[in-house]
Point group: C3
C-alpha cells in the first residue's frame, strides 16, 4: 500500500513531496467574507449582493521577473479602486518557473490582495482548443491532463480561502477559425465540467468561472446547454471590435441574456487608440465603448475586470512604473471609484 | 518502406535499436509449468488446480538502489514459503532508470524466481485515474500511451515464459473521492481491454489481472459488465479498514462473489499495528483480520499476495535486512508454510 | 488580450516568436501551375489531366546530416524523369532537428523542386496507431497533438504554394496485428479529418492525401465511408508481397476500385531482390511485379511514387552517390522517361 516512505530517499525527483503542494495555505486571518452564487447574483455571507469591479494583473511570473510582483503593485491596484484582482497564470510560465515556485508567487499575491480588501480570481490563461490541444501560440500550450492537475493543485492549496473567490477554468476557448481544429460548445462544456468536478471535490466554497467559444465572447449555447453543476458563473470578454456599433442588442443576444439566469463576469475588457503600443484587433476603441459597456454591465448586475494592469501588455492600464494611467486607465479608475463603494 | 537501416547512424537516440527490447528473453530452461484459467480456477498443464500464495516485492529499482535486488532476497522470499512474487513497477521508476536498464532488473528477478520455483506477477504500479491521467501523487504519474507501450514492451519480451504467469494491467484505479476526476467502471474496463488486447496480440499464454475501482477493492460492477476477453482473472486489495467488522458479508458482496465465476487474486493485503512505522488507513489491523481474510480466501479458492516484502515500505513483512519477520511477516510465513504444499 | 509583446523579453523559450513559423514562405516565382481534384483525376489550371510519377526522398534531415540535401540531389531526381518528389518527415527527426531548422530544409527542397519543374508531397512519416499513440518503432513515435500542430505549421507556411501540391496526413496506419492496440477505419478517418480540417482552415489550394489501414494498403472501407471533405485523394502502398500472384483482382478489390471515384496516388511502391541490402517483407520482387503494377496504375489513371531515392534505405533506387541505378532504379527511371512527357 504505502510506498511513499522511502520514496524520499529513493526517488531523487521526489525530494519535494507531492503532498506538500496539496496543503491548504490559509492566511491566519481572512479579512474578507465568503462570496457565493444566489440565482443570478453574487452575495456575501449576510446575503447582500456583491459586484466585482477590478483589474487583471499581467502574469505573476512576468511581474516577478521584472521585480514588480510586490505589495506596492497591489497598493497601486487598490489606488485604482479595484475590489478584485485577476491573476492570469500562463501555462508556459507555470512550467518554466516550476509549480512550487509559482505557487509561492500566488501565495504572496493572495495575501497582499486580501490584506488590501480585494478578492482574487485565479485564471488558467490559455488560448485555443483544449480538445485538440492546439493553441494560438506556444505560450498558451497546455494539455487536458496538465489543466486537470493544475486545478487539483490549486483547489487543494487554496481550499476554503474566501479571498480566492473564483477559479476561471480556461481563459479563452477558440478554434481560430478552424486553424486549431474543431470544438463545439458541448465538447468545451464537458472539459469545463471535468475541471469543475476536480475543483468541487476539494472545495465547495469557490465559484468556478466558465468561458464560451470565440475567445470567450459567445455564451449563446448556454441557454440550451448550461454547465451541469450549480454555483458557477459565466464569463465574457466583450472587447470593442468583437461587434460593430450599435452594440447593445448584439451583446444582449451573445451573452447579456445569460445575466437573467446566472451571474456573469466580464473577466476581460479594455480599449486603446489605434496608434498605441501593441494596438491590435479587437481592442481598438475609446470611451464611447467604455461608457456603453459599463452602462450595459451595471443595468444587468454584471461584474467586470479590466485588462491589463501592466505598462507593456496591451491594452495598458498605465504608462510607466509610476502607475500613471493611460486613457483606459483613467476611465476605469474613475468608474471603479464611483461604483465600488 | 525500410528506414531503419540508417537510423543507427543518423538518429543518435536510436543507438539502442527499439527492436532489441522486443525480443523474448527466455531462460534456457523453464523450471515451472504453464498456468492457465479454467472456469474460476487456475490449472497447470495437467489440469490440476494451482493456488498462488506469495508476497509483493517493493519496487525492483528501489531494491537495486539499496543493493538488495539479489538472489539472497529471492531466497528470503522462498524461506517465507511463497509460490509467487509480485513486482510492482512504479511508472516513475521505469522512466528514471530507463526502459533498457529496468528490463534487466526484471530479467534477473524472473530468472531467480523461476530457479526457486516461484511464479512472477508483473504489476504496472500506478494509483489514480488513467482516463484523466491525474494520479494520487507524482510517483504514480503515467499516461494511457505510456501504459500501452509498457505492456507492448513487456509482452514481447516475456512472451510464452511460464514463470511470468500474470500481467496486472493497472494497480489501483481510483478517483480519490473525485479529486482525480470521474471514472466509471465502463471507462476503466475499456482501458483494461486496450491493454489486454495489446498483451494478447503478443502472448496468449499469460493471464491478465484486472483491477476494479476504489483502489482496486470493488468488483461489484463485474457481475453485469465483465471484461470481454477470456482467460483473465480479477483482483482485489481487501485491506482491513476498507470495511468495518463483521467483514464477511461485505467482502462477499464487494468482490467475493466474483470467485464463483472467475479466478480471483488478492494481489495486495496486509496489516500492521497503529503505532508501527508508516501505519496508515486502511492497513491497521491484526491477526483477527489475518485469519478472517485467509479463511475467506481458502473457502473460495482465491489466490493471495501479501504487501510488502520490504523493511521500510508499509505494512512491512520484515524488520531488518536479516529478514526478521514483523507481526504480519510471521503470520503470512506460517500460513504459506501450511497452505503452499 | 495581448501578452505577446513582452513575451520576447520574458519567456526565454519564445525568442523565436511562434508567429514567425506561420508566415507563408512563397518563392518569388511559382514555376508550376496549381493542381486540383476534378472527379477522379488531377487537373491543372486549364483543366488538363495531370498524372504524378516520381520518387520519395529519404528523410530530409537524414540527407542533410550526410551533406546530400543539395540541388545536385534534386537534379539527380530530375534526371530519373520524376515530376514529383515526396518528403517523408519522420516525427523523431522533426523533433530532434527542431521545427525552425527542419522547416529551412523543407523551404530549400521545395525551392529546388519547383525550379526543376517537380511538385512536392509533404508526408508525415509515422507508422502505427495514431489513436493509441503506439507505433512500430521509436522513430515513428508521435502524438495526435504533435500531428495536429505539425499540419498547422506546415499549412500556414506553404499556404497557396502550387509546388507543394500534396499533404499526406499520416504515412502508414497499422495496428501491427493488434500489437499497437485496435484501430478501425472509422477512427482513423476521424483523425484524418481532424488534420484535413486544420489544413483547409489555412489553405484550400492543397490536396490532402489519405491513407488506409494495413500499412496504407487497404482502401476497401472507403466505398462505404469516405472522407467527409471534398478535394482529397486516396493513397495505397502496394508492395509486391502484400498479396500473392496473380495480383490484379486483389489490387482491384483492395484499393483499385477507389480510382473509379477519387484520384488515387500510390505514394510508395518498390521492389528488390531477396539478397539485396536491407531486403525485407513485403518488398521482395522484380520487374514482373514492376510491369504488372505500372500497367495497373496506367489503365486506371493512378499516380505513383517509388520508394526510395537513397542508397541505404531499402528498396534503394541507386547504389552509390554517383546515383548509379539499382534494378528498380533502372526500371522506374525508364518508366518515368516514357510516361512523364
Ligand atoms: Mg476560495
Ligand atoms: Mg514505408
Ligand atoms: Mg508468461
Ligand atoms: Mg485575452
Ligand atoms: Mg500548395
Amino acid at each position: 500500500m504505502r510506498s511513499a516512505t522511502l520514496s524520499i530517499l529513493f526517488f531523487s525527483c521526489f525530494l519535494l513531496s507531492p503532498f506538500s503542494t496539496l496543503t491548504a495555505q490559509k492566511s491566519d486571518e481572512h479579512p474578507l467574507p465568503f462570496i457565493s452564487v444566489d440565482g443570478n447574483r453574487f452575495v456575501d455571507e449576510n446575503g447582500y449582493e456583491f459586484r466585482f469591479r477590478g483589474v487583471s494583473s499581467s502574469d505573476p511570473g512576468k511581474l516577478k521577473e521584472q521585480g514588480k510582483w510586490t505589495l506596492e503593485y497591489f497598493e497601486a491596484i487598490k489606488s485604482y479602486n479595484a475590489n478584485v484582482v485577476r491573476f492570469p497564470v500562463h501555462p508556459s510560465a507555470w512550467r518554466e518557473r516550476g509549480q512550487e515556485n509559482y505557487l509561492k508567487l500566488l501565495d504572496q499575491g493572495i495575501e497582499w490582495a486580501g490584506k488590501l480588501g480585494m478578492y482574487v480570481i485565479i485564471d488558467w490563461h490559455s488560448i485555443g482548443n483544449l480538445r485538440t490541444e492546439v493553441y494560438q501560440s506556444e505560450m498558451y500550450n497546455t494539455t487536458k491532463t496538465e489543466s486537470f492537475r493544475f486545478w487539483r493543485t490549486i483547489a487543494a492549496r487554496y481550499k476554503e480561502n474566501p479571498v480566492v473567490a473564483f477559479y476561471e477554468t480556461f481563459n479563452e476557448p477558440t478554434t481560430y477559425h478552424g486553424q486549431l481544429g474543431t470544438l463545439t460548445w458541448a465538447e468545451m462544456k464537458k472539459l469545463h465540467e471535468e475541471m469543475i468536478g476536480i475543483i468541487y471535490a476539494h472545495d465547495k466554497t469557490v465559484i468556478p468561472l466558465v468561458s464560451g467559444l470565440n475567445w470567450s465572447y459567445d455564451l449563446s449555447p448556454v441557454v440550451e446547454n448550461p454547465i451541469k453543476y450549480p454555483g458557477v458563473a459565466y464569463v465574457t470578454h466583450p472587447y470593442p471590435q468583437k461587434r460593430e456599433q450599435p452594440w447593445e442588442e448584439k451583446w444582449q443576444d451573445d451573452w447579456g441574456f445569460v445575466a437573467e439566469t446566472y451571474p456573469v463576469v466580464a473577466t476581460e475588457l479594455g480599449f486603446m487608440s489605434e496608434d498605441g503600443p501593441g494596438a491590435h484587433v479587437p481592442v481598438i476603441g475609446d470611451e464611447t465603448y467604455g461608457n456603453a459597456i459599463i452602462d450595459f454591465f451595471e443595468e444587468r448586475g454584471i461584474s467586470w475586470v479590466a485588462w491589463v494592469f501592466d505598462p507593456q501588455w496591451s491594452p495598458q492600464m498605465f504608462k510607466n512604473w509610476e502607475y500613471e494611467p493611460t486613457m483606459q486607465g483613467k476611465f476605469f479608475k474613475e468608474k471603479m471609484g464611483e461604483l465600488n463603494k
